[in-house]
Symmetry: C2
């Protein structure tokens, strides 16, 4: 397993003949036309947990070369305290990555990603970025996400990149950006990975006290309850909201938002006639958690992705 710090090194680690290397190493082109290898990429902010490992395992199974990127992207944090508190544990991450069969870790510095004079932003407009996390974390959050993911994908030009459904809105922003710009990467959405008690895996979970962790379990319970109710034929979002609010109250969890939206457009939904995304954000103790479920009416098969 290689650990590389620069885009040039990352491209050097790719097959000769791969267009991501076009500018850097023109002399190599044509010498070894072995470009049939499939490249899978898992972009992360490090602090790897079993959720990340499930993404890496899928990437390993579906590709010839697996790249893990680790970059705590400053431009998507609205609060310096959150950026500072974000866990960093690269040595441990590298050991986990190696055990998961990663070929290349790309762990750039902020100066490598945003050198002096950097002036370009990729933005997605509309409800996808303006509501929920976009409203809660500031409008620049998803600009930061879209820009860094565009740059990471263009650095490696992977055939597939893997994202968790847990960050549903981020996934949708990335899908929209990649489709709109025509980045030739398939965005693979992967089901939310959960601990045995149901809590969605997150790098932030390590900051929960044991008491707060128990309280936080009302979040996946509320989501499971509304999902079951929808699958049983409850179509009214008003009723589903009341159900979820009751369960959250059992843990004294006051959600920042409890939203029912169209999973493509993020426009508010009032009935579960097609698939509806139910998303929750809540601060439990000092830690802000998010989680979601895709709700399907009885007439629709259960989504494979969640």
């Amino acid at each position: 397993m290689k650990v590389v710090r620069t885009i040039a090194e990352l491209r050097e680690a790719l097959r000769p003949g791969h267009p991501a290397r076009a500018c850097e190493s023109q002399d190599h082109l044509g010498q070894n036309p072995d470009t049939a290898s499939r490249i899978g990429m898992v972009p992360t902010m490090g602090a790897l947990h079993e959720g990340h490992l499930s993404l890496l395992q899928r990437a390993r199974a579906e590709n010839d070369l697996v790249i893990l990127s680790i970059f705590v992207n400053p431009t998507q944090f609205s609060e310096a305290s959150d950026l500072d508190a974000y866990p960093r544990q690269e040595a441990q991450d590298a050991a986990l990555a190696e055990s998961a069969g990663v070929d290349v870790i790309f762990a750039p510095s902020a100066a490598e990603m945003y050198p002096a004079g950097f002036a370009t932003t990729v933005s997605v407009s509309g409800a996808i970025t303006e509501t929920l996390e976009g409203a809660g974390r500031g409008s620049s959050h998803f600009d930061g996400v879209a820009t860094v993911v565009a740059k990471l994908l263009l650095a490696a030009l992977p055939h597939r990149a893997y994202f968790g459904q847990k960050d549903a809105q981020q996934l949708r922003v990335v899908q929209r950006m990649v489709a709109d710009l025509g980045i030739p990467t398939e965005i693979v959405s992967c089901a939310t990975s959960r601990d045995a008690d149901g809590l969605a895996r997150s790098s932030r979970n390590v900051r929960l006290s044991e008491t707060d962790r128990q309280r936080a379990l009302v979040i996946p319970r509320a989501l499971a309850a509304v999902s079951a109710a929808a699958a049983s034929g409850e179509t009214e979002v008003v009723a589903l909201r009341t159900l979820a609010e009751g369960i959250l109250a059992e843990g004294s969890v006051d959600p920042e938002y409890l939203a029912f939206v169209n999973p493509e457009s993020f426009a508010p939904a009032t009935t579960v006639s097609g698939t509806v995304l139910c998303a929750i954000a809540a601060r439990v103790g000092e830690v802000r958690l998010i989680d979601n479920e895709l709700l399907n009416p009885p007439s629709l098969p259960i989504s494979k992705e969640n």
Copy 2:
């Protein structure tokens, strides 16, 4: 020569194994690993003139496969009348392109480039986009340029793309965007192509009356005079400005701007100690013209690019 209308068709026209085809035709990958071919792209808005032909000839000489894109991009026009008046002559363009050895013309519709739901913008911030053309044409002009060029380059992932120095600010925006996002394409800047009388070639020139065309010649004359003065040792922008204003006045041309800026940052320059870009925009009759020269002090060699 092929003429294609969709991104999928364009990618189909590229070599199997080229990553731009990764999503569309995974089954083809590895069957023909002939990816050593160099792809050159010349993005245009059509209405080809000899300036475009010089770009195409250079692309032809330096690459194995040459793509000409023709797309009158609505998002970079601030005035609907200018968009409507922009000349469109695809049959004539295709004949010229074939004579120049173009392999593929990519001529998409606006609906192909911006399908329903399109929501992504690529922006470059700072003086590069806010001054001169950015001030004159509205702040969205260069967002439109950066977004469409990003999308065109990602559609084909060419090794090289060719732009004229005549649109100096556009060239700099594209260079900045491509460097910042890491699009693996070399941006090749090509010297401004001029008619025998010195007028910079532009698709808009056909709309000049004979009288206005004669008046417009003071623009290249003013640029040539300041370039010669700088090369002879005049370093004060105040003096160079007075010289240019005097020549423009001979044609009764009142410039929208006559600017002396750093060619990288577009920050205003007061002395010609290094290379300085002198740029002029002026409306002559109904037609808005732009032109520029790179000025070099006697201590610097003349730039190859202009």
